[in-house]
Symmetry: C2
Subunit: 176 residues, 2 copies
């Protein structure tokens, strides 16, 4: 780990495109500095294989984990969803506590709080009690007030124009 | 170049952090799909060496160019600034016309229009008359109405909270 005084807690939220993509950009920037990165994806999506392929060129520095099981968050089996969310969050907590990474991305973590699977305060507590040298990025819509309060940097990605609403299909290599 | 019917014109604008970072994320996602990417930076900044190091692992697919000469856009030599901006924009136009890339990032291009160095309509004309298979990403504050009108996707990165305003210094590997 690089020597550092203060890690940032960064939040990318809002209904626009670019949240996960910005986290991915930060990931590659950090990798470029030789930093160790752990990218934890809380919602599995088939559109993310571009990153996985790109990540292979950094397997000395980057660890990538997918939690959950392809949630739609409309499952009929709420209890199972909550158990899987809990398991994912506990894994993330372990990673944070171990303090082995310079940057930890918790991609789409906000949904766990939005859907009341994990209490927002519990999330904030774990994030704020981390080793302070670690950078954390949280992405997802609807970041709660307590998370925003605790964060050092918050950007709202606001949708101004969306291609799919204009009848343009998702594009390989670009899909958000 | 991959076979593709419709390239997207994407704009990341607004006063918040994450615009260039999202473009960088898209870049790496595209690279992960084996696509060819040209990243043209219109404002040189010493904080971008993380990308440059990361880019080295993709030198088979990614070309990176820095235009300008470290503009502050507060130069006393406006004529020289305009000449350099014009030169940079003409280079970008050539790259677009050659149609050799799947994705072209025009990082901080909006400033050329904001500072009246290049007419916004000229920019929009070149972008909309590209070979339609090419994806283009434009970043920068204050994207003009005509650019937004022409774009397929526009996200405004809105600053909710900024670390430097809270007295936290820029961090290696994270600086935006």
């Amino acid at each position: 780990m690089a020597d550092r005084k203060k890690g940032l807690l960064m939040v990318f939220t809002g209904n626009g495109k670019g949240k996960t993509t910005a986290a991915l950009g930060l990931t590659f920037r950090a990798l470029g500095h030789g930093e160790k990165v752990c990218f934890i994806q809380f919602i599995k999506g088939s559109w993310k294989y571009g990153e996985l392929e790109a990540a292979k060129r950094f397997d000395d520095l980057l660890d990538f984990h997918v939690m959950g099981r392809g949630f739609t968050w409309k499952s009929d089996d709420l209890e199972k969803d909550i158990a899987v969310a809990r398991q994912g969050w506990e894994f993330a907590g372990k990673i944070i506590a171990e303090n082995r990474y310079d940057l930890i991305v918790l991609d789409e973590l906000t949904y766990l709080a939005t859907y009341k699977m994990i209490d927002e305060q519990e999330i904030v507590d774990v994030l704020t009690h981390r080793n302070p040298s670690q950078h954390i990025v949280v992405t997802g819509r609807g970041a709660g007030d307590r998370l925003i309060q605790a964060a050092d940097l918050v950007t709202e990605m606001k949708e101004i124009k969306h291609p799919y609403k204009q009848g343009i299909k998702a594009q390989k290599g670009i899909e958000f």
